[in-house]
Symmetry: C2
Amino acid sequence: MSDSAPVVADLLIRYGPDMDRTLRTVIGYRDDPIHRMVRYHLGWIDEHGHTGDFSRGKGLRSTLCLLACEAIAGDHHPALPAAAALELLHSFTLAHDDVMDHDVLRHGRPTVWKLWGEAQAINTGDMLYAHAFSALTDFADPAVAARATRLLADTCVTIVEGQSADIQFEQRDDVTVDEYLAMVARKTAALIGTSLRLGALAAGAPPSFENGLADFGQFMGIAFQIRDDMLGTWGDPSVTGKPVGEDLRRKKKTLPVLALQRLADARGRSQMSEIFSAENPTDPQIEVVLDLMEKFQVRDDVRRLADTYTDRALQALANLPAQFSERPDLAALIDYFTARQV
Amino acid sequence: MSDSAPVVADLLIRYGPDMDRTLRTVIGYRDDPIHRMVRYHLGWIDEHGHTGDFSRGKGLRSTLCLLACEAIAGDHHPALPAAAALELLHSFTLAHDDVMDHDVLRHGRPTVWKLWGEAQAINTGDMLYAHAFSALTDFADPAVAARATRLLADTCVTIVEGQSADIQFEQRDDVTVDEYLAMVARKTAALIGTSLRLGALAAGAPPSFENGLADFGQFMGIAFQIRDDMLGTWGDPSVTGKPVGEDLRRKKKTLPVLALQRLADARGRSQMSEIFSAENPTDPQIEVVLDLMEKFQVRDDVRRLADTYTDRALQALANLPAQFSERPDLAALIDYFTARQV
């Protein structure tokens, strides 16, 4: 982890200014109220409209896209329209997810719905969705633009299927780990794979290139989501920006919860389902669940699964053509975004 | 009205089967839970998944698009990808609007959020949004697909700006009629204009054709929305599927309300703002507002404005090339969708 951080920081510095400029060109100089919410959500301004340096996402999807393009074409610039589309699309999903999950914080700041209400947060997401597809029309070659649009639209279908399954899981208490992984493959990993594929497409690579990249992105995305689930359960509040056990408090069916259901004895399972049937689990109840996870070695189990997917991602990378497999920055990205932190 | 109805019915019969087939091809044979919600929202199935003949929208946008294409190319088929995109996009906005407005009925049936919750209704809209852009990639010519994507994405930006302004108006009591018309131009009329432009684009018409069509659509869209506002205030419940004064009960800042604010004397204005400051206006309070509207001749005033925009639409139609201006079905469409009914 400590080795990969400088490599990733270097990538973000290398691509950051181009990405920033491209995103601002797509959004334009619009300054109506809804675009102020959009700018706030993107981390460009505070809630009063003042510019500042606010915590944003790390740009995993755009970085992968630009890196894939650079690996093939020796230049990341051709993929900028796709990279912008990916970040805008990801931002749209976050704005809507925050409404659906009633999350009050995003990157340490109040969420859009918390500040301006659910209706405007839905509008903020809908606006970013439009800008994402608009960004793709900046490809000079219309054949590339049309193929990219198809790929992104198909990926949106997949993402919404995953998000919808995630919401349904909240109502069920028999969700299996396999079902969960299939949901994550849709909700999170599909867009990671599409990020790499769009980079290859922008570089003019033949479609045959794209399948290997999609596999790689799929495994990396699943490992990334499992790490995110681990952080949501056991993460250091100073790192995650959320209280310990936040996902448990919200009774989310994350992988640690599903693993506990599988590993616990009958008494542990009944304790847990009693706590999860409470309207709002109390702090002592959260402690009981965390103790059960300790007792049944849930963290080791989830870690093993995360490691499995990280290994598969590395294996998929090794199977890619030399332009990819020999790039240390791609391996560093996997390490940085999927390595164990808890 | 009575003259235009058969012409419009004939158009819907003529285009209906092609539209239906195209929409079903775009959605595919997906049958996962979120697509069951999508199919329900589109009026294809009931809430238990059984097919049936449910009340749907009248397909104004797709009809205009196909008609514009037919007027230029002599054949509506080239515009089917755009027509499908328009209906899917319009459906997405309805799914999200229902959440934002807490509307419980749509075409006489419970809304998606009412049946499956707000989160899944947001997902239903997001899914239709994706399918709309996917539909455009079915254009055989990638240059047409790319231009159509740009046009639709730009229109989405405009629609969401309008929808966002509409939500903000709920918090203000100084909205002017001009502000309202500017909002409607974005929220409703822009997509009507885009419907005609996409039809022309699909027919291979030069872009110079599109501006006149956009004007025509703009005026028609505003007249259409004013008629909708009139129905929401004075419409026959057996026609609208909503109780009398439903928009008033929900304290929507529709045109009749804004006109009353402008036309009433000081006492009338203060009566009205007192009623609109109540959490939930009662039936007798709604009656008071309707009586005030009667007293200050609001209906005549709003009718005049609607007629003004209908006349402008007819004038814009007369200024279009003969392929359009001499088509009786276009004039019939204006009449059917904008004629006074209350």
